[in-house]
Symmetry: C2
Subunit: 157 residues, 2 copies
């Protein structure tokens, strides 16, 4: 188990300079269980496959990720019907922090979300987001991936 | 993540008196991933379903269990073909410790294994097993459930 402490911001315009040194990965994910305080999802990231459980809500969430194989992913994928999303993730460093910029595909287009993880809530709250970060949506349930996968892009997104 | 610290013993004869107050559950489990230092299994325990990852070997193992639903269990079960086992688990208290006695079905019959979990390795090593506990097989790879599911009962079992 790991505690995931993160902040999340909408992005209106791609930060072209920052993305020059980013690592780009295509992510496909589907939700298998969505309970009030828990979700279980599967994810394909390139040729790697994961099953992840997240518990809790807001700034800190408990997360556990299990590496699975393609057979398991393929067996479970049909169960995520109607609760899927795809996005391109760019990962890059900025002022000592690792940032992830997700550009959503499909119906969620043109949604773009910036995420950063921290080791403590104090550190998270002290962090100043870069200029290209727009509206903060940390803890906003409408921007949880499980919610985006199910109901699509929020009206103001 | 939890650290699982346990000791394991063969049992030759059922401890009839101790079992009078035991809780009995039928367990069905199958292995999906078996790597040198990691395994992923699914388990049905009555009407509950779990996906569990275990890492490491010996007295202490890292374990994480995720509650899944019957649909996920059913989708994954075919992938465990050839790596399954069934057992009846009796859980009971003895001198302040919770003991689990597993009576294996099918090809593993008449194997019976007693397990107890501890909160530290010191406590585990200090514990005196009850009289009905036979040969200690803690850390014996042949008695790992994943191994039993794949290759059956060891010759001296």
């Amino acid at each position: 188990m790991a505690i995931e402490i993160e902040r999340k911001f909408l992005v209106e315009e791609l930060p072209v300079i920052e993305l020059q040194n980013a690592v780009l990965e295509e992510i496909q994910q589907g939700y298998l269980i969505r309970e009030a305080d828990r979700e279980v999802r599967i994810r394909r990231k390139g040729e790697l496959f994961f099953l992840t459980e997240k518990k809790g809500a807001g700034l800190s969430r408990e997360e556990h990720e299990i590496s699975i194989n393609e057979q398991m992913f393929d067996a479970l994928w049909p169960l995520s019907k109607g609760m899927r999303l795809e996005k391109a993730r760019s990962t890059f460093m900025l002022d000592g922090y690792q940032l992830e910029l997700d550009v959503y595909h499909g119906e969620l287009k043109p949604l773009m979300v910036l995420e950063t993880e921290f080791t403590s809530e104090e550190e998270a709250l002290a962090w100043s987001p870069p200029e290209f970060a727009g509206l903060e949506v940390t803890g906003d349930k409408r921007y949880k991936n499980a919610q985006l996968a199910k109901t699509g892009k929020p009206d103001n997104g």
